[in-house]
Amino acid sequence: MILDLHSHSIKSDDGRAKVPNYCQWIRAREIPIDGFVLTEHRQFDFESDYSALAKEFGLTILKASEVETEYGHVLVFGVTEALTQTFDFTDIHLPLAQVIEAAERHGAVPVPCHPGRKRVGMSAHLEEYGVPQGVRIVEIYNGGSRGDEDAIAQNMAAEQDYLGIGGSDAHIVSQIGKCATRFPEKITSAAELAEALRGGDFEALNFREQI
């Protein structure tokens, strides 16, 4: 199963895509993914229910979060209501150690995203803060990467022995599915996704040249 693990809808302040249009686009353009994860900025979107849409288009639509730490932005998969009570998702200065500890305690999985990017990526902060404890997975393909950002992420992953995921970081409809992650088994819920990430059996994919 192939999921785009990083996307934003109009629920994010800089997102411009409506979720039904993502679905329509994936099917119309035959984007080679089976679904996507909405990782809205600095929040978890409890209110939206995309189950009918997912059924209509035969896609898996899951929800996660993108939070902000001193090491840059971090995707959190498997968010539960209890996890959202442990720290303030809107805080743009969260300590990464706190996010990792809370995520692990609540069965969620933290993944630093676009780690090769200046300011908002983890590699930009290693010199100042050192290599953080507890990171196991980073995003090595990001659809919005410029220049050598993905290469920096991949090199860092190789050096630190991190696993890698892929996500489009789509903010507009036509960006969805540019990068994704392949899992061997079907995933139908956020909890299953977190479990699959913990299991470590997945592969980052880059579709930017083909779609």
Binding site: R16, G144, R146, V173
Partner: protein, 138 residues
């Protein structure tokens, strides 16, 4: 092919790619017309002294390019809104390509939504956004 009515528009349709004139000469003309006399738009050296990679194409000029692109595709269109997110500077005298694609259509009202992306020669996205456009219904 140019678009006359909403019936001509298809979901996923790509607008013709538009390569805007981002030359210093053209940007100076825009800055003069807009009464924007800051050197960061018209002088590479002065812009670099401000820590910029070079003189910048003003954001509203980039938005103008986006609207112009839409009108080349649909001359009768009423561009109601161009909403952009600037991810990286658009530098004067560098080459850019603007692409657009239809991502939502309401045939009854004639309203169309278009994804817009400004990329450089390396294929890096500098600006992205959406436009809401009203196309004649008949």
């Amino acid at each position: 092919m140019t678009i006359a009515t909403i019936k001509d528009v298809e979901f996923g349709e790509e607008l013709p790619v538009f390569d805007p004139d981002t030359s210093l000469e053209n940007v100076k003309k825009f800055a003069t017309a807009a009464h924007w006399f800051g050197p960061r738009f018209t002088d590479h050296e002065a812009a670099r002294k401000e820590g910029l990679p070079g003189a910048l194409v003003p954001g509203i000029m980039s938005q103008g390019f986006l609207a112009a692109m839409i009108h080349r595709w649909a001359p009768q269109a009423n561009v109601q809104n161009v909403d952009t997110v600037f991810r990286a500077p658009v530098v004067v005298d560098e080459k850019y390509h603007i692409t657009g694609v239809v991502t939502d259509i309401d045939e009854a009202s004639g309203r169309v939504e278009i994804d817009l992306t400004v990329t450089n020669d390396a294929g890096e996205t500098r600006v992205f956004g959406t436009a809401q456009v009203q196309i004649p219904t008949g």
